[in-house]
């Protein structure tokens, strides 16, 4: 940031288009399409619309940002759409963990995040492990012991079997030898209804979703899937503190661009994300949703992606899920 003007001056003085100066002079000239993989109202769509408002309010962009919904194919349609926009400077996308997982298990989903241009990671979504308030388990160890005594009798509600919920279960099962059942519910509402209704025993749940049920005395938190304790849950131990040294699996959201765009554009969007995460409206959004700020630039994101894919492949194979790439 500090370098911007000196470099432009340098370019002006020498009369040559200095590459670094070029890198700083890209600006979108037309309204920017922000591609999301959910229909209107889905998680990514809501984030995208909130982000577009913030960009406008905080004057982060010279042009407007328009949300484009490309639902279908569990994110594969949106990824393919971005891949087709090769070199387009006015299109970017928002990815979530499912963009990383779908190509691993679906042969049809040919576009991985690596085939696109990673820009930045924006959000880390922590999770908590919760049981019904009247359940006999006071700690995660209590639950694990009960699961060991009756293998396969206890149940966890969650999303698809490639979701973070199941990955946490797989990791815990592997490190403790306990075994319990994972039941997929496509809707977040059904998952939590199954837990509160007493039809399942445990759930890996987003803090924002769990918060009100804990306050109302419906749920109890056993542990947090996070490196350090979340502000909203000062009394619940992290997985490591609870005595389970398993990797913390992050749930991520971030920005990607089509393949084949110049380094100048990557730098511009990376800078946009950095400035975005410093605004007050972004900080409030993160706090309201009990997310964690997970900013990471383009280079780190590519490395994160490789590590994540490798670990995920191992976990899925352990779980008996066939991976295709």
């Amino acid at each position: 940031m500090k370098l911007r003007y000196p470099l432009i001056l340098l370019a002006a003085v020498t009369g040559l288009p200095h590459p670094a100066a070029m890198a700083q002079t890209f600006k979108p000239a037309r309204p920017v399409e922000l591609v999301v993989h959910t229909g209107p109202g889905g998680g990514s769509d809501v984030l995208a619309r909130a982000l577009a408002i913030m960009a406008e309010r905080e004057k982060l962009l010279p042009v407007r940002m328009v949300v484009v919904n490309k639902p279908g194919g569990n994110s594969a349609v949106a990824a393919a759409y971005l891949a087709e926009k090769r070199g387009d400077p006015n299109t970017i996308g928002l990815f979530t963990g499912v963009w990383l997982q779908t190509p691993l298990v679906s042969p049809e989903a040919k576009v991985t995040l690596r085939d696109l241009t990673p820009i930045a990671r924006l959000v880390l979504e922590p999770a908590v492990i919760a049981v019904k308030a009247d359940a006999p388990y006071k700690t995660l160890a209590d639950f694990i012991d009960a699961a060991k005594k009756r293998p396969g009798a206890l149940k966890q509600s969650g999303g698809s079997n490639t979701s973070r919920d199941n990955v946490v279960r797989q990791l815990l099962q592997k490190s403790t030898g306990a075994r319990w059942v994972f039941i997929s519910f496509p809707g977040g509402g059904e998952r939590i209804a199954a837990l509160i209704g007493g039809h399942v025993d445990i759930m890996v749940i987003e803090p924002e979703e769990a918060g009100e049920h804990i306050r109302a005395g419906n749920l109890r938190v056993l542990a947090q899937v996070s490196e350090h304790r979340l502000p909203g849950f000062p009394d619940a131990p992290t997985l490591k503190e609870a005595g389970f040294d398993v990797p913390v699996v992050p749930q991520v959201r971030g920005m990607v661009a089509p393949p084949g765009i110049p380094a100048a554009n990557v730098a511009y969007w990376e800078d946009f994300c950095r400035r975005l995460t410093r605004t007050a409206s972004w900080k409030k959004y993160i706090a309201d949703n009990q997310f964690e700020d997970g900013f990471q630039g383009a280079a780190d994101l590519a490395r994160f992606y490789d590590e994540f894919t490798m670990r995920m492949r191992g976990i899925l194979e352990d779980a008996g899920v066939k991976t295709v790439r």
């Binding site: 109202g41 619309r49 408002i53 919904n69 298990v105 149940k155 009100e212």
Partner: protein, 501 residues
Amino acid sequence: MDIVTGLLHGFSVALAPANLLWCFVGVFLGTVVGVLPGLGPPATIAMLLPLTFSMSPAGAIIMLAGIYYGAKYGGSTTSILMNVPGESASVVTCIDGYQMARKGRPGAALGIAAIASFVAGTVGVVGLMLVAPPLARFALSFSSPEYFALMSLGLALVVLLAGRSMLKALLAALAGLWIATVGTDPFSTTSRFTFGQLELLSGIDFVVVAIGVFALGEVLANMEAREDAPLLEVPRGLRNLLPTWQDLKDCRFAFVNGSVVGFLVGTLPGGGSTIASFLSYGLEKAVSRRRDQFGTGVIEGVAAPEGANNSETGGALVPLLTLGIPGSGTTAILLAALVLWGFKPGPLFIPEHPDLFWGLVASMYIGNVMLLVLNLPLVPLFAQVLRLPVYVLYPLILGVSMVGVYSASGSLFDLGLLLAFGLLGYVMRKLDYPAAPLILGLALGAGMERALRQSLMMSQGSLSILVSRPISASMLSLALLILLIPLFGKFNAWRLRALES
């Protein structure tokens, strides 16, 4: 806060001029998006979300809820006039609504849809106001086995939806169930019947199939007839266009049925207005004295599902507002909106924000009246569409269908699917296969498979979980009974014949 003071307080919020205006804006927009196929309430609410940041939260929730229940009023319009379902909840309205229009009673069908929507919509709000917290707790006792039983009950209605041949109806239902399996298996993430098409990974949208089979199939079949006179007789004069006193009397039970079934199914987090509308249609047919005339344009066949999909709105707000649990796409985005405005929807939402809850409840009473006043005068206007000569009407139906499908997904692939299912609808009509069981099988298939597999995972593979739980057991027995009724009829007829000879 007891109900009377709560409601009075709510009306003081809802009757504030600004909120009254937002309520009108909401129900008006809702009617518009309901009439247009494709663009549904979740998309509309998502697009308006940025606007609501500068509004008061009460005004904003009143407006967004207005869009939600307003769309249910408008949804029946294209179902009745063109056989193009405006929303997934109006698919079943096509069955008798379109036949009524063909018989020259489009006004009566549109009118009864508005009246049933008003009655059931209001009952839904009363239910939301009176029994929300206890009912939400009851709804939680429903889990996968109960959902499986509920959907089996829905599928048993295939028998009632059947035309002349039970075999053809069952085959059509099976085809529907099969189409429902296309996509990614939710449990193993394996691709099923996707033929390498990434567009098929998330399955086939049932509204695309419904529009194809109903509307396109109808247009293709009718084009063979080569009529050039105006297709349908539309009576002149307002009086002849609205439902008659006799119509209202015929719909007495449908109003009650639609209100109760819609509200109860709405309160279930895994329910939804499509299931509610099919169930109430089936129930209406099951108890009707003129059961054999269903599908040929009986007015109860419009009133029951249209009522059900409106009282479902009140029901769906029960788990959302009392527990913070969304049951459908639209309530999920309402939940996201509440969070974006800085609220924390959950069990403590109503006691901590009585203004918002009671303001919303009061506004829904007002909004339903507005919708009735808004929709009834539109009936004669819309009915004029059918005066168009066929060379205008059929291209119009094709256009509305294609724009509707494209605006929902923005995908050319879906347009291809629409044409393919249009051809299927045409072939089915030629071979005398009923379309409704196919649509019902598709609408219920995915949920039913999921519920069954979830149940079996819960019970470690034992089927007894389906019959050892009282709610599930009683619904399954009812489904079995419905399946057996036609057999008894056949047996009786055979016995009588045997006695005679």
